[in-house]
Each structure stands twice: as C-alpha cells, then as structure tokens.
C-alpha cells in the first residue's frame, strides 16, 4: 500500500516537473526570440500608453512611456546607409527600388506609415498621456485670457533620414521632388475601408478639397528652392492638456483656431498649438481640419514648412481620474503629430518642453 502511494506521488511529481520544465523552455524561447524585435517594443509601447492613459494623474508619474524612437534610413542602392544614424542601434534601412516615380511612392508610403503608426500607438491622440507627468502649469494665451495648461510634452515616434544618394545627388533630388504625401493620405489604409486622411481626421474628410491642390502647388513653387533641405525628419507626437472648461472659455473669447474632431467643436487651448495650425489654416465652414494647407513630404523635406502637415485631436481626453462621485473627470487639450526638421533644435524645444520615451 505504502509502495503504491509512493509510486503515485512520483508520477504526479514527474508530470508536474516535465510540464514546468516545458513551460520554462517555451518561456525562455519566446523571451529570446522576441526580446529584440520591433513587434515586442511596439507592444510594450502600446501597453505603457494604455496603462498611462487609464491611470489617474497621481499614478501616471510612475508609469514610464516605454516607447522607443524608430530610426528609419531611406536610401538608394549606392549608399545603403544614413550617416545621420552613425553609431546608433536598431536602424531600419529601406533601400528604394524601381524607377524614380516608384521610389517616390515608396518614400510616401514609408512616411505616411510612420505617421499612422505613431498616431495609432499613441491612442489616436485621445488618451491623456502626459498630464500627470507635468504638475507645473503654464500660463498660456497671455494677453487674452489665462488658461492653465500642462507643459507641452512630446514623444519622437520616428526619425526618418535620407541617404546621401537622395539628398546630394541629382537623381536623388529628382526623386524627392516627386514625393507627394497627399497621394498616400487619400488612399485606403491596407485592410480597411477608410483613407489615411479619414483616419487622421476621425472620418471627417476622405480627400482634400479641390482648392487645396491649388494651394499646394503654389506653396511648392514658392518655397522649394529657397530653403536648404534637411536630411532628417522627426515625427513628433505632442500633447498638451488644459484645465477643465478652459477650451470652452477660449472658444467664447473667439481667439483660437477652431478644430473639428468627431463632429463637435473644440478649441485649441494653447497659443503654440494655435500658431502651428493657424499659419496655413484651411478654413472650411468656420473650422480648421487636419492637414490644413497640407503639403507633401516634398514640402517638409525641401522647405522645412513642415507645420503644414499635422494630425490633430482637440477635445475631451480619456483618463483614469475620477471625481468623488466616481464619475470620470473629463480633461481637455490637444494632441498633434507632425513631421519636423530634426535639426531645428529651437523649433523642437519650443514645441516640446518635455520629450519622453527612449531615444
């Protein structure tokens, strides 16, 4: 009897041990296989964004943004590298193939995809990600009304660099001249029945208004030869949160740029944001929309007028903060994603008082 019982325990122990070892081996295999891949870092980023977006203001400070700036090097066969990323790790090299037009299309796709990934990763700008990180408040809209806001905080989603064979050689410059982001923004997102533009504008616009195209060509010819092109673009995600009712107050004063998202009117609460959008705002029915005065990559590469393309969300933010009745406290503010010349340090620092995430 005793012997039998002992035998039973041994079988049980062996089975559990084998299962545990198997589990450990699988876990170690998955760990080793996925630890360095982009997918895992994307998932880690998404998880940290969600955790932060749903945490209360007090807890937000303890949840780091586990997102790493993506480094994309766009080049032709002759260079196959970007000196801009010298010594940096995890650089994704995209070697362009085909004729000039095809190469231009590839640049468009890569850039719009970078913007799409950023917007998607950051909760489409609707999550309150930085409020708890910046307890200090600024006085914005000075001279008009005082609106207390959090410091504008950013994450550099990706840095897109161009190889020397694109920026310094004649055929490369020709390719960059042919790039027009608008073409891709009006295309459907793969696997979805909405365009990138619809996605960025919360289904407000499927394509650009006709008059915009006129503006665009004018913009291109006026500026493309005057400004030295940059060879590195950063796609920045910026968010600024205002006090409750601040946007409403601002709207009654009628001093900011109106932005329509999701069918409701919200106002951009901070001068900096307003200025960015207001410079080339395309006003339609009294509202400014995403891509106001949208220029293509050509514009932001060749002229540095990158403020002309941006995805924005201004309105109520989802967060974990609740009032004493247990109801969620609505915060207001704006999120923007925009390409910017990476070397314009003052412009970036003016736009972002705090940069979070991993470089």
């Amino acid at each position: 009897m005793k012997k039998k019982k002992k035998g039973q325990i041994e079988v049980y122990q062996i089975v559990i041990t084998v299962l545990a070892i198997l589990g450990l081996v699988i876990a170690l295999f998955l760990w080793a296989f996925f630890k360095d891949t982009a997918d895992v870092s994307d998932e880690m980023c998404r998880l940290s964004v969600l955790t932060r977006g749903t945490a209360s203001d007090k807890l937000q400070a303890f949840v780091p943004l586990k997102c790493t700036t993506k480094k994309i090097c766009i080049t032709q066969e002759s260079a196959k590298e970007c000196k801009q990323f010298l010594g940096e790790e995890n650089v994704k090299v995209e070697v362009l193939k085909g004729n000039e037009s095809e190469k231009a299309r590839q640049i468009e796709e890569i850039s719009v995809q970078a913007m799409y990934n950023c917007w998607s990763m950051m909760g489409e700008g609707k999550l309150n990600l930085f409020n708890g990180q910046s307890p200090e408040v600024d006085e914005a809209l000075t001279g008009f009304i005082e609106v207390k806001t959090s410091k504008p905080s950013c994450f550099i989603c990706s840095r897109v660099s161009f190889g020397k064979d694109l920026t310094d050689e004649a055929d490369g410059k020709e390719i960059l001249q042919k790039v027009d982001l608008k073409r891709v923004l009006e295309k459907n997102i793969p696997g979805q029945d909405k365009t990138y533009l619809e996605y960025f504008t919360d289904k407000q616009f499927r394509a650009y208004p006709a008059e915009f195209k006129v503006n665009f060509s004018k913009f291109e010819s006026e500026n493309s030869l005057k400004v030295k092109p940059t060879n590195q673009i950063a796609f920045l995600f910026m968010q600024v949160i205002a006090e409750e009712n601040a946007l409403e107050t601002a709207s009654t004063k009628g001093i900011t740029t109106g932005i329509v998202v999701g069918g409701a009117l919200f106002m951009s609460p901070v001068g900096k944001v307003s200025n960015l959008l207001g410079a080339s705002a395309l006003v339609k029915g009294g509202v400014t929309l995403f891509g106001a005065g949208v220029a293509g990559i050509l514009a932001y590469v060749q002229t540095g007028r990158n403020q002309d393309i941006a995805a924005t969300y201004c309105g109520n933010f989802t967060g974990g903060e609740k009032n004493p009745d247990g109801m969620p406290i609505a915060k207001e503010g704006c999120s923007i994603i925009k390409p910017i010349d990476y070397y314009k340090v003052n412009e970036i620092n003016n736009f972002c008082e705090i940069i979070e995430g991993n470089p």
Partner: protein
C-alpha cells in the same frame, strides 16, 4: 538520519518545481519592472552611451554637431569630464583614464570646483572611459551675470543685496541636461576630446561657472 535523506530524495521533484516556479515569478517581476520602473537612470546611461558612440565614431581632427535627446527628469543631471592627467579629485572610474560622466545633480548647486562635481558623481553617476590625455566638457553661456555681495567690515553676513555684473559670453565647466533637445559639438583631436554645448537660449545665467 537515513530517513531524512530519504525524505529529501522523495521531495526532489517538489524542490525542482519550486525553483522553476520561483524563476518564472522572478521573470514575471522583471518584465513588470521593465514596464513600470522609472527609467531615469537608464535614460541617463543612454545619453552617455550615445555620446561615447559619437566620440568613438569621429576620427582624430574631426568635429561634428550632434543632438542629444533629453528625457523626463534630465534637468537633474549634468555632464562633466576629467582628463587622466588632472590632479584634482576625480570620480573613481576616472582615476587612471580620462572619462566623461553623467551625474545626478545640478551644476548651479555646487561649490564652484571640479572636486565638488567629482564628489557628486561619486554619489550617483555613470562614466565612460577614453584612452586619451585630456577631456573637456564645457558650455558656452551667452550672457553670464556675476553676482557679488558687499560684506561690511565686522559683519558676518552680506550687508547689501546681490550686485549684478554682466560679463557677457563665458565658457563654464560641464553642462546641465534638458528634458528636450540639446545641441552638442564634439571635437576630437589626437590628445584631446572636447564636448561643448554651444550658446544656449539661456539668458542671464548667474549660477556657478568655473
């Protein structure tokens, strides 16, 4: 006695399972820590690693301007360098080799000497060593304001408010990091590495400068 040995042998499976479970729990804790832990130290290490890589990728006689991406809490860190021939107090990793360190603290809060920086780096800092004679880490202050106080004879404390004297441009040791972007110029020569923060927008700086 024999029985006890037998017990241990009988329970060897349980022990293994226990150890494996412990390993899995430690693994899970590490993952959770990775997600939620404060990354300030890690980001500081990244900055100094980034500078090290940039320096190593420059040839002798070359110079270039680079951007350093700050991080949340970066204002609480500074960058300083020590040459191997410097006689003043140095952080431990810099005793026999030249090095660049990123250290926790504020340059404005120290007594104006490199020894005080070294002490601070000893409390919390990350250093990278270079096989070179001299390392200089400096910042160019656009509008330095010298503060002085008048102490009347026989009095212990100052008997007047700060007297401000505009000095103009001044090169000071080390530089404070920022939570956004910092422009840094690196000059590499055969015997010297110079890391310089060019003139910042900083106006009317009146802190420590030595």
């Amino acid at each position: 006695m024999k029985n006890k040995k037998g017990d241990l042998r009988d329970n060897i499976g349980d022990i293994i399972i226990g150890i494996l479970c412990l390993l899995l729990i430690i693994g899970a804790i590490m993952i959770i820590y990775k997600v939620f832990a404060n990354q300030e130290d890690e980001n500081a290490k990244r900055v100094v690693n980034n500078i090290e890589t940039k320096i190593n990728n420059l040839n002798d006689g070359e110079s270039n301007t680079f951007l350093i991406q700050g991080f949340k809490g970066a204002e609480g860190w500074f960058l300083a360098g020590w040459g191997k021939e410097e006689k003043e107090e140095k952080p431990d990793p810099c005793t026999f080799q030249s090095c660049i360190c990123i250290c926790k603290g504020s340059l404005a809060g120290f007594s104006p000497s490199k020894s005080s920086l070294a002490k601070q780096c000893g409390v919390k800092g990350f250093c990278r060593r270079f096989n070179i004679d001299k390392i200089v880490v400096e910042r160019d202050v656009a509008n330095f304001i010298e503060l002085s106080q008048y102490v009347a004879p026989g009095e212990v404390g100052p008997s007047s408010p700060d007297i401000k004297k505009e000095v103009g441009n001044k090169i000071c040791t080390g530089f404070q990091l920022k939570s956004n972007m910092i422009e840094v110029k690196i000059i590499k020569n055969k015997n010297e590495i110079k890391v310089l923060q060019p003139v910042d927008e900083e106006k009317g700086y009146s802190g420590n400068c030595f």
